[in-house]
Symmetry: C2
Subunit: 434 residues, 2 copies
Amino acid sequence: MTVSTVASSSLAESAHRTRQAAQQLGYLSGDAKNAAIAAMADALEQAAAEIVEANAVDCEAAQQEGLAKPLYDRLKLSESKLQGAIAGVRDVGKLPDPVGVAQLHRELDDGLILKRITCPLGVLGVIFEARPDAAIQIASLALKSGNGVMFKGGKEARHSCQAIVAAIHRGLNSAGLPTDAIQLLTTREEILELLQLDSMVDLIIPRGSNAFVRFVQDNTRIPVLGHADGICHIFIDQSAVLDKAIPIVVDAKTQYPAACNAVETLLIHQGVAKAFLPPLAAALRKNGVTLRGDAIAQEIVEMEAATEDDWQTEYSDLVLAIRVVDSLGAAIAHINTYGSRHTDAIISESPQAVDSFLAQVDAAGVFHNCSTRFADGFRYGFGAEVGISTQQLPPRGPVGLEGLVTYKYQVVGNGHIAATYSGDDARAFSHRTL
Amino acid sequence: MTVSTVASSSLAESAHRTRQAAQQLGYLSGDAKNAAIAAMADALEQAAAEIVEANAVDCEAAQQEGLAKPLYDRLKLSESKLQGAIAGVRDVGKLPDPVGVAQLHRELDDGLILKRITCPLGVLGVIFEARPDAAIQIASLALKSGNGVMFKGGKEARHSCQAIVAAIHRGLNSAGLPTDAIQLLTTREEILELLQLDSMVDLIIPRGSNAFVRFVQDNTRIPVLGHADGICHIFIDQSAVLDKAIPIVVDAKTQYPAACNAVETLLIHQGVAKAFLPPLAAALRKNGVTLRGDAIAQEIVEMEAATEDDWQTEYSDLVLAIRVVDSLGAAIAHINTYGSRHTDAIISESPQAVDSFLAQVDAAGVFHNCSTRFADGFRYGFGAEVGISTQQLPPRGPVGLEGLVTYKYQVVGNGHIAATYSGDDARAFSHRTL
């Protein structure tokens, strides 16, 4: 079976086909979607050898081209990684159906009923790095949410993605669903084209470097789910307990420094800086962290100087910037100026300081006495994570399946007209919640 | 008291001040906001004579410049219209506080608690036509939702808006709130500048012509709440009852033809076209409606020919396009092709057809056996309407105060770190709803 890939000249036409196929997915029952997800998982299992083989071709080419080790590790799809991804597909089948949920149910008048019902977005445009298991995850989430998807994986993963999509298409086929619902784009040029299809594509999900996400945001009018920066802060308040502060800061910096929810800047109240910074610096250095501090921090512990640039840098590495602030207000002002609205934490035993921090810090996640690393859809219990959004409007923060649906208002009457409710003897609405 | 208006060169600086003032509004209690709203209403009442006088200056200039009658009517602020707007402010005070609502409350583990809490967006950019009462409504909604607002009214309403904002500032002042929270822009050039301030302004609300809304959408990366087109459809299904169909179509077309939720295209099933079109056409023509039909409709009733253009036109006038379709599927396909995802209705007595229509039509409002004119925040019982969004992502459809807030995730722990939950002896999350 050949995978139908998309010729650049007809991308809009392909998107139209995906849109039509998606309309069919949109009104499937939860059971029908779960059956299709199971068929998809079965097809992937049956194609496991084929997929691993295709991946080996990609990996060999990548090695010859000298692909950097971390990228190569992401590209490499071992049998066990593939089985893990297939298990993930089956897990998505177990999640509650995000479509068809009544968010509002109200009588407007006798026999005139308003409902707000969740429904699919339509078509998702997903662009990710050379990480073939992402294609599997995305396909299952799209199907579960009743959306079509056009995706483009990194060119290094070309053979892997084609083998995966061929298997997914077989799964869709055996479930009686249109294979157009999931289309694979193959050329880099198509990314820009995809970003222009704002009447066909409803949401772009970019996965990749900060620079790439920013490129996407700058080049499309389609809403983008994602974030360019994860500049997270921890503020150690005057009332903080050192025994809580040290493990939290060490965890937030070192547990996975490349993660977007790792801490980048530590703010510390001047009242405790002298007492806390030396043991904190020792603990961080023991874990391989390089410190950069402002003048006051440097007076307390010898470290490199932090410049203005450091406050706006996501190191994604074992580096931590430290600034001593003279008040809670100064800490909040720093975060609201330099932060990326991702996740910021306060370590404090003062309920008043905590309340102010949680209320005034403008971020998707505001944490108290715990690591910023908890900012994650799986840890929040969402089952699946589509991405973390640092946009101001919802969906914000870690986004689960609910980020892939929207809603529509249904009004059902029996001949009701608006004229009845206007003018001198206007009838009143009842507006009764049902 | 002079109104502080914004010099173009320092718009970003002004936006920064509004942002800071908004942070203060953001954590006010509901009672404190309602007190400020009352103070705003009082100040407007005290300034009523002043405002009406300023409006008279604007109206005189508009008459000399020959402003079109409908625009003049919107500009004109009579004492009673002003009192109505002030009553509207007091009504906003009675609405539930949209901020601080817990949407999710979950234990992640012992002592590690996740909450999702609604919070203000930050700063709203509102651009509207020469309609001074809109400034009053917007100011009260912004205050209620804890947002700052920078607004720009049409230049014809300059004196009116200045008098209104001066009064609003007096109200804010007497409530002890920063007047920077609500700023008035006065020059047209500032609109484009405002649209560029994507790091300062969180939502743009344009009110005006479709062309203007499209201009705004095309010139900003800030999310825009609103819609350019309102191309609404009614489909008369094969199973429709004529006695319901006629009043609904007449209401949807004639009750207020300039409204975005008025019907523009009537689709009718070929099975009933011959029987229904003649009495329907007679009823519509009795109400002054001009009809344009496709070839089949023209065979049944004499009328002008509809062209491809008609299917994509929002007449905002007593004109209705009519197309005869051969199936429910063709009606849905027409709507999903030409509609603007605003509001579309089916007239039908077949539960199966209704279910298909409500599920498959992609629009913010899908209606059955009632007029499209019900698509309205007040009629839905939202208390206040910020606008109607035809975007795919929420907020969609009529947007009340909830469109002016977002949410943040609060995680409160007691020294919890992520390392505990990973690795070989990883602790499990409880994910228990509280």
